[in-house]
């Protein structure tokens, strides 16, 4: 007796991520994206559904990506307990912020991997900071200056590895250790047994050359 619009009338605006029917639309939209593998498209569709509160899509996303993200957390933090916590935080953030993912600009795996890495780096920094600085460190982390606004075309891994290979070995090794192991300038200087300014100049020189190579 209710005379209302039928349940699945097409909506004249935006994306309505509330209903299962919208999942199909998300998938279609993700498939329109010019880049990315089949798996990438599947994950992009899952992320779009997660943005609409779809828990099944969230479970799928976790099954497909958690081993990679846990590996990253574990490598950076070196502690299973902390890696588990950061992994949990990462996925809770994904649940809340999935709408920020833009399939046209980033690959889902990279977006997730960078999110996990940034959270792990924040945790490392909080661990290093004296207690009174902890709040400040966490505040800064919350502002999200490292938000992964990733631009797909910059992600040519062959080019990156080629350019890293062109650097002096000590510069390349330090850049890799910073990115993958979360080592800061003082950590790196101690590890290599060189003064801090020396380490800074190795890395800065390496970064300038790296940029020049990547822009060629």
């Amino acid at each position: 007796m209710l005379i209302l619009a039928p349940r699945h009338v097409p909506l004249p605006y935006g994306l309505p991520p509330l209903f299962p029917s919208s999942l199909t639309r998300c998938m279609l939209r993700a498939m329109d994206a010019p880049r990315g593998s089949e798996e990438g498209r599947r994950l992009a569709a899952a992320l779009a559904a997660v943005a609409g509160g779809d828990r099944d899509a969230m479970a799928l996303l976790y099954r497909r990506t958690s081993a990679k993200l846990y590996g990253i957390c574990l490598r950076l933090l070196g502690s299973e307990a902390e890696a588990e916590e950061v992994l949990q935080e990462t996925y809770v953030t994904v649940w809340r912020k999935a709408a920020a993912f833009d399939a046209a600009r980033a690959s889902p795996v990279t977006w997730l991997a960078v999110l996990a890495r940034n959270k792990a780096i924040d945790r490392l920094r909080a661990r290093r900071a004296p207690a009174e600085d902890l709040d400040a460190a966490l505040d800064v982390a919350d502002e999200g200056p490292l938000a992964p606004e990733l631009i797909e075309k910059a992600q040519d891994r062959h080019r990156l590895f080629g350019c890293l290979a062109e650097l002096e070995e000590k510069s390349a090794a330090a850049i890799r250790a910073a990115f993958l192991d979360g080592l800061s300038y003082p950590d790196l200087a101690t590890r290599e047994g060189v003064p801090l300014p020396t380490m800074k100049s190795w890395i800065r020189r390496g970064l300038i050359r790296l940029r020049g190579c990547l822009e060629r």
Partner: protein, 238 residues
């Protein structure tokens, strides 16, 4: 705060890379992060470096996390079911109050009737309740209406927030059928209190229904529901 001279474009880019790599500590990190917070260009440079370096993450060995991590995540993203239960309880409470009020009114009437002279008081119009739900689902919104004050209160259950870029609009469907009347956008968080204007108030009665549809942020552009109806329920006496 910083008394340093402004950085050259090249130094700024190196600073962006240092922030992306996580090389900075203490004050250096705080300053660079603050710069990223206020300067979109610098933030883009940091994002650019992160993107350039991200392929390195492919090298990291995958490790399956223990099952308990997913259990914890699942628990944190679960909808709080207690809220619907609370709403039900609240409705039962309202029903209880209303029954008690009716009983008191009846006993008063009895007292009055046994007395000789004063005329019987008019029967107080009863509070109406509509439990709006999706087909077979739990109550998602509850509307209570007091015909005396013409005050309508609509409360949404937890997890009823509209998707970004959308709003939920309330509609009154008259008991006699016909077009739904728009009643305004309903907030998912605060209780929505509205005074029903006089001509429409007569339609808010037993047998009429309320429904909620998904609409653009400023409400339906046509005056009729344009998006899917996510919950509906008939008005009954509390």
């Amino acid at each position: 705060m910083s008394t340093r001279p402004p950085l050259s474009p090249e130094d700024r880019d190196v600073l962006a890379a240092e922030l992306a790599l996580g090389l900075l500590d203490g004050d250096d990190h705080a300053e660079a992060a603050a710069l990223a917070g206020r300067d979109p260009e610098f933030r883009a440079a940091v994002a650019g470096w992160t993107a350039r370096l991200a392929p390195m993450l492919d090298e990291v060995h995958e490790t399956a996390p223990p099952d308990r991590v997913w259990s914890r995540i699942e628990a944190r993203i679960a909808p709080p079911p207690s809220n619907v239960v609370q709403l039900r309880r609240r409705v039962n409470l309202w029903r209880g109050y209303s029954l008690a009020a009716t009983a008191i009114a009846a006993s008063l009437a009895l007292v009055l009737v046994t007395r000789p002279s004063p005329p019987p008081p008019p029967a107080a119009p009863q509070t109406l309740v509509a439990m709006m739900q999706s087909e077979g689902g739990p109550a998602r919104l509850v509307a209570t209406y007091d015909p005396q004050t013409r005050r309508l209160i609509v409360q949404a259950a937890a997890g009823m927030a509209p998707a970004p870029g959308h709003a939920h609009e309330l509609w009154l469907i008259p008991a006699a059928g016909g077009k739904p009347h728009p009643m305004g956008i309903v907030s998912a968080t605060a209780p929505n209190k509205m005074d029903v204007p006089m001509p429409m108030a007569s339609d808010v009665r037993e047998g009429a229904a309320f429904a909620v549809s998904v609409e653009p942020p400023s409400g339906s552009p046509t005056g009729l529901p344009t998006g899917p109806v996510i919950a509906q329920g008939k008005l009954t006496r509390a």
